[in-house]
């Protein structure tokens, strides 16, 4: 339970919160649809180039940005997402009502022959078993399903998180990380919030991009990259968010890169540029640095992309 966060909020808010929030800080969300297209390497480089941005790692399921941005953690908060049902074995009379009402197959036979337990990995936290247990033997505590952190990095403040194993609600954790980044940006008068978004098109991505100033899609010229880019573009259009696009490792398959850009342009995306395949990208990761700090052809291309994105966002 992020008690400290709730209690601290009045102190950390600027004097006129409503007006401050109205003067929203521009927010760039970097997504990819498909994983492994180089999204995080691009975000880390943008952070190094922007310098005064607040960085938010919303890829809470596989957060990697901290591996290259060298954060020093200032605050750690527990993340609570909903509730979970827990049967008090001492009070369980094994009537089986819980098993009958559970739609998620979360009720299993317990250790003893005639008792039941809830499998926390399957429990959706709906509370229906809690409501209908005739013995009132089911507790419904809050579920801690991750942690989030406020840190400083050489490139600016950073908010990041770690979702617990098998945890749900990554949408809410994403919202928490974004919300905190926004608060810090407003307090510090930052010019930009830079969000490393999650892969896919489901709940976490939706939570990461709604209301953003712009979305940058980092894709790759592969059949999968192309397929997933189309879906993610459709999603951004669905939520009416302006989209820019860049093709990473474009020289692996120039024809596909071309096709992707044509498709993007036809669907209203701004083409922010192309990034060449460069072994330095992996080397930078191994050395725990950003690509632009190491230099190379990809670094040059990322600078060009950043320049266009910056002008596109007017920051």
């Amino acid at each position: 339970m992020p008690v400290s966060a709730v209690e601290k909020r009045p102190d950390s808010l600027p004097v006129a919160p409503a007006q401050a929030a109205l003067a929203a800080v521009p927010e760039l969300v970097v997504i990819s649809g498909k994983g492994g297209t180089g999204k995080t390497s691009v975000v880390a480089s943008f952070a190094a180039l922007a310098q005064d941005a607040v960085i938010a790692d919303c890829d809470v399921d596989a957060a990697d940005l901290h591996l290259v941005l060298d954060p020093r953690t200032l605050e750690t908060h527990n993340f609570v997402g909903g509730h979970e049902a827990v049967i008090r074995q001492s009070d369980c009379e094994a009537g089986g009502t819980c098993r009958n009402v559970c739609r998620f197959d979360a009720v299993r036979a317990g250790q003893g022959s005639n008792q039941f337990v809830i499998d926390p990995l399957s429990c959706e936290g709906c509370g229906v078993c809690v409501e209908f247990c005739p013995s009132r033997a089911i507790d419904f505590p809050e579920r801690t399903c991750g942690e989030w952190f406020v840190s400083t990095t050489p490139h600016g403040p950073m908010v990041h998180a770690r979702l617990g194993i098998a945890a749900e609600n990554s949408g809410k954790l994403v919202s928490t990380v974004r919300g905190e980044a926004k608060r810090i940006a407003v307090t510090h008068g930052s010019k930009l919030i830079l969000v490393d978004g999650p892969p896919g098109i489901g709940c976490p991505v939706i939570a990461a991009m709604t209301g953003a100033t712009g979305v940058l899609v980092v894709t790759e010229p592969t059949v999968s990259g192309e397929h997933d880019m189309e879906r993610v573009l459709e999603l951004a259009t669905h939520f009416k968010i302006p989209v820019a696009m860049c093709v990473n490792r474009w020289d692996i398959n120039p024809e596909a890169a071309e096709r992707i850009e044509v498709h993007g342009r036809d669907h209203g995306a701004v083409i922010a540029g192309r990034i060449r395949y460069d072994a330095a990208v992996t080397r930078a990761q191994v050395e725990g640095r950003t690509v632009v700090e190491l230099g190379g052809t990809a670094a040059d291309d990322i600078r060009t992309v950043w320049d266009r994105v910056r002008r596109w966002l007017e920051v």
């Binding site: 339970m1 709730v6 909020r9 009045p10 808010l13 006129a16 919160p17 409503a18 007006q19 929030a21 109205l22 609570v80 997402g81 909903g82 936290g125 609600n169 949408g171 809410k172 919202s175 974004r178 919300g179 926004k182 939706i206 939570a207 709604t210 209301g211 939520f239």
Partner: protein
């Protein structure tokens, strides 16, 4: 008039919380009788989803005629509209100041949500 304002604290001197669904408190103010009441919304602050819907239900239950807040998202707006509650956005400062802003016509009556979902 019965007004609910989204608030950071539980008094008339508290700051308006620009967020509706995830505001920690609501201040209920009846401008005719001078009656005030603070209502806890920690359930909304911590809600996994649907904080705005739940908050709208709370405001409806309090019998408010209008809501004063910073911003209002789409689901909360739909719910408030269905409950027949007028939504005024753009409020700032203390609760007392926000009510003055409302009475002097400085706030705009919303005809739709002014932010997307999950905005804060």
């Amino acid at each position: 008039m019965k007004i609910v304002v989204s608030s950071i604290g539980g008094s008339l001197d508290s700051q308006v919380d620009p967020r509706f669904g995830r505001a920690p408190m609501f201040m209920f103010v009846d401008t005719d009788t001078g009656e005030t009441e603070s209502v806890d919304n920690s359930a909304g602050t911590n809600a996994t989803q649907g904080a705005g819907i739940q908050a709208a239900e709370t405001v409806s239950r309090l019998g408010a005629e209008c809501l004063v807040t910073g911003h209002c998202g789409p689901k909360a707006f739909r719910t408030l509209q269905a409950a027949g509650i007028k939504v005024y956005t753009g409020a700032s400062g203390t609760i007392t100041e926000a009510i003055e802003q409302l009475e002097s016509g400085e706030l705009h009556l919303s005809s739709g949500p002014d932010v997307g979902g999950h905005w804060g």
